[in-house]
Symmetry: C2
Subunit: 609 residues, 2 copies
């Protein structure tokens, strides 16, 4: 990258108008500041200014990866479908993966991620435990065939991802690399000027393997985060744990016996509340789920006697291809499908079709309930176990049960924490109150275990000469999304306010008129800054000062120097975002600016260890 550039010599077609389809601020500003142009829905081209910041984000990531000993390689973007078939993901990745047939009829994939490609490479080279641990990464093009790409590069189809994969002899070694990655990610986002919320999933229901997402707050975020007002607890709502004993109304227990009541034409919880003049927390809601590839043993589960376990491929774990479950939960709560899938060890869970519900419960829709249900296993949320006087469907048209008590009138095949945490719930960690935020995931680190190395048959000889399967971790960061998030966090009404570390240039020099003494002074200052390693953009255009200042605010270079006849031999220095500028003798300006630039760049790197 050149360190100095004249604005007339580069290509920065800024826009006054906001493109109609740009609804979030980073998309609007990236278009207006001419960082980006749209090629097609979800496909964007970076223009020179955008590409400079993009490369800086890439380089921060590269430096931090190199610093922890990860090794950069470059596989292809288009990879053979064969390796996706080996891992089994050819079938499970869904339509988001762009599949291509080449002219010879071979299957190929435009990589959405690269566990398979890296694992295939490592498989061919790995012989001995001495070669492990090994962490490889790439910073390369990815493609996901989003149905509804939007928000500019925040959710585009093609993007650049840093993806790293590590291979280990044991869990301890994997954990060491995983921890080092987590620290590197914190440094990367800090250097980019980003406030991230690291969200651990291993504290909750998912247990075990370990995974951490790095989120930024965003009103248009894909994820709902659950945060604690009192401590540093943060979780993705999909995985957030519930305090086991929290919020369960220790029901007074009327002592009344279970009773059938007529509820003509009443099907939904709302209708029931209206009919019985009570709140939803009184009800035991019963939902029928269909689960696919269930690994959990259903040998003693009601209604499952005839199910058979099969292995999808030789060596793969045996699973039930399809099974149904009745999930009971208190009426005011929602089932968390991620928790349910984890409990069942299923690859997918979804509400069953109406016909299946009626067939399995023997009742019309709206009258399912756990009492007397024998056609399928009942899985109850902890909230249900605490209920001693509930209302629930009686498995027959226009009938419900009242005064239902768990343990007396029915028991579940399994009970577990299955509910979705929400704002106002209590933190499992400290008892504080939880609240919600929308967030976007910028990075994710994940202990994969032997999922890929086993299915793709990767082995090495251990110290005793015995064949072993390595364990594996994967670690991704979306470069485009990180860049857009920096703008989301650093902007004002007038435009971008770049952190020094990722600004396209450090200093913008604006001669009021690029001519005569002003030109001389501006050129001299640019030369001086260039020599000190400061990156300078010179607005040499023949435009009115107002236009230049507006563009300056929009583009958001951290430091602005105005050189004009009126002030010479002084020049005006202003930080982007400051209201007032200060006069500095032209002869000192280079030193003053270089000082600020270099100290801010150094600051962003401090704290690596």
């Amino acid at each position: 990258m050149l360190t100095t550039m004249k604005l007339s010599q580069t290509f920065v077609p800024t826009l006054r108008e906001v493109p109609a389809d740009a609804v979030i601020v980073s998309h609007r500003l990236m278009m207006r500041a001419a960082m980006l142009r749209k090629l097609a829905n979800g496909l964007f081209a970076y223009l020179p200014l955008g590409l400079r910041s993009f490369r800086k984000v890439e380089n921060i990531i590269r430096q931090e990866m190199d610093a922890i000993g990860a090794l950069e390689i470059k596989p292809t973007v288009v990879v053979p479908g064969e390796i996706w078939k080996e891992s089994g993901r050819w079938d499970t990745m869904g339509e988001g993966m762009l599949r291509v047939k080449n002219r010879l009829g071979g299957d190929f994939v435009v990589s959405p991620t690269a566990e398979e490609a890296f694992t295939a490479l490592v498989r061919d080279e790995l012989a001995s435990y001495r070669q492990l641990p090994l962490t490889l990464y790439q910073i390369n093009t990815k493609y996901r065939d989003e149905i509804r790409p939007r928000y500019g590069v925040m959710r585009g189809r093609e993007f650049v991802m840093k993806d790293a994969y590590s291979y280990h002899t044991d869990e301890k070694s994997l954990d060491a690399s995983y921890q080092a990655m987590g620290k590197a990610y914190r440094r990367i986002f800090k250097r980019c000027g980003l406030t991230v919320i690291p969200v651990r999933a291993d504290t909750g229901a998912m247990g075990g393997t370990g995974s951490e997402e790095f989120m930024v707050e965003s009103e248009i975020g894909d994820n709902t985060l659950i945060l604690c007002k009192a401590c540093d607890y943060a979780a993705n709502v999909e995985k957030a744990a519930c305090k086991a004993d929290y919020g369960l109304p220790v029901a007074p227990g009327s002592g009344a016996a279970i009773e059938k009541i007529a509820t003509p034409g009443v099907r939904t919880i709302d209708e029931l509340c209206e009919f019985l003049k009570t709140g939803p927390a009184t009800f035991i809601k019963t939902l029928v789920y269909r689960a696919v590839n269930v690994e959990l043993d259903l040998g003693d589960a009601p209604g499952c006697a005839r199910l058979e376990r099969k292995a999808a491929a030789p060596g793969a774990p045996k699973t039930y291809p399809e099974a149904f479950f009745a999930v009971a939960i208190r009426g005011d709560l929602d089932v968390n499908e991620t928790k349910l899938a984890a409990l069942l060890k299923a690859s997918e869970v979804a509400l069953a079709a109406d016909a299946d519900v009626e067939r399995l419960t023997g009742a019309p829709l709206g009258f399912a309930g756990p009492v007397g249900l024998t056609g399928l296993p009942v899985v109850a949320d902890e909230s249900v176990r605490a209920m001693a006087d509930g209302v629930t469907g009686a498995l027959a048209k226009d009938l419900h049960y009242a005064h239902v008590a768990y343990g007396r009138d029915f028991t579940a095949w399994l009970t577990a924490d299955l509910r979705t945490v929400k704002a106002g719930d209590i933190c499992t960690q400290c008892g504080g109150e939880l609240y919600e935020k929308k967030g976007n995931e910028l990075g994710h680190i994940f202990k994969l275990g032997s999922k890929y190395t086993a299915s793709m048959n990767v082995t090495y000889l251990d110290v005793d000469g015995k064949t072993q399967t390595p364990t594996m971790g994967c670690y991704g960061i979306g470069v485009d999304r990180t860049l857009a998030s920096i703008i989301e966090e650093h902007h004002d009404d007038d435009g971008i306010r770049w952190p020094m570390s990722v600004a396209p240039y450090h200093v913008l020099v604006i001669p009021i008129k690029y001519d005569g003494a002003v030109k001389g002074a501006a050129d001299q200052l640019v030369a001086e800054l260039e020599e000190k390693g400061v990156e300078v953009l010179l607005d040499d255009r023949d435009e009115r000062p107002g236009v230049k200042f507006k563009d300056a605010d929009l583009i958001g270079i951290p430091l602005r120097v105005v050189v004009g006849d009126k002030n010479l031999p002084n020049v005006e220095i202003k930080r982007r975002g400051e209201k007032d500028s200060r006069l500095v003798p032209q002869t000192e300006a280079g030193l003053v600016l270089a000082d600020i630039v270099l100290s801010e760049l150094a600051e962003s790197i401090v704290g690596r260890n």
Copy 2:
């Protein structure tokens, strides 16, 4: 990129065996030196060592592009099929272009080149002549669906290309950018240590627009080059011009009248030579060609009265969808189909099917000839015009004509230079003798004119406010192929011999045993070199010196330093390729090595202007 690396900490699985499918030296050495691994046929992954050199080639290209004012941008790799339909290349690109349907049924292309993407971007931004000239480039992934990928990255399916596109108000501006690009290309290849043969096409039959290919000699090259022993003439055989009057035997002219001779069962030139006991230069060979999309006016051409011209799209030039031509050429010469297509302004020419030949000539195969031929236009090579006593087919079974003279017995509808130049021919430039070489194209610069800007409807307002179409140039370099070519030119029997400018590291430090005083001395030297900006690879492995030396020769780092007990306080310094090493005091080694490295790096950059 880190400047120092321990071999035990990186991933360099060198091979003693040569992979069976690696037939050229660069492929063999890139595999053996662990620069590269194969993911699938034509798809390769660069490992850490290979990627370092790859990035250095990219950076040399980037620096030279930036130096001439080209601006780097980053469009996507996957682009909408729509823009390829606009340019018309959706239909003409053939099966080498990888087409994809996305989940919504939209057409997409995995870019094989990017005239369309750049032109679409420029179209949206271009308003005024003041924005021109504009040169944009990318260094990005490309894909060509080769049927038979081979020779490693020399002819792979996925590769990285630097492709630049320039836009201009006039021919003079285009020529200035074209010339600057040509100079930049010469500097790039020189800095990479490559001997390229620049091959101009604008001196020859193609005329006009201007194009220059940058070739390297290669026994497996795709191209045949025609070079002059006496001057700097160099041409691709596809386009090489013939000296108009050269080699035409000013036939004595027997004066004898044309005569029909019986040639029972004689069909080929060889059979005819045998039968008449003479050489092939005596014959007028007549070949029937089928041409597609012929733009040349055939209004007065024999047999073409019924052909109609049509425009493929509104605004596109009108062409004859199909037309046939009899091409007459001296029996010892070959028709150059590129010249023929250029003459006819056809998108494609190929020998006609046997049935068409018989239908159009009214004679069995082997008896075509220009005398009395009326069913299709005769196009004659210049060689035929000079023949006064030739033999040719008589348009009837087992009959030929003897004593045929051009101008007396027949004339052609068109005459032109249509023959393929070959070794031994005479240079059009200086009269020297021509010879042949096989070559691979590393780069290509090309004046496109308004082909894309017109079909894609790009306009700007000129100084008078009138709407104009810009003219355009395109300029490509294959990065992978350039890297492989460097190895083709710089190696010996033991391995690679990197030029300093593109070596993965500058210095390889080999401690005989990485322990005690030797380790101390090696570490100190590495630290000293690092401080001087020299890139060092340290072979800290616990391997026998023989293994380390063999790997050193294979990997080919330019400078090798051996640190051993025996020689301390001296160390052994050797250039890769030198037979003997020299002893240098350890305290001076850093300075000596840094001097060599920095002077060689500087040298590679000299001559930029």
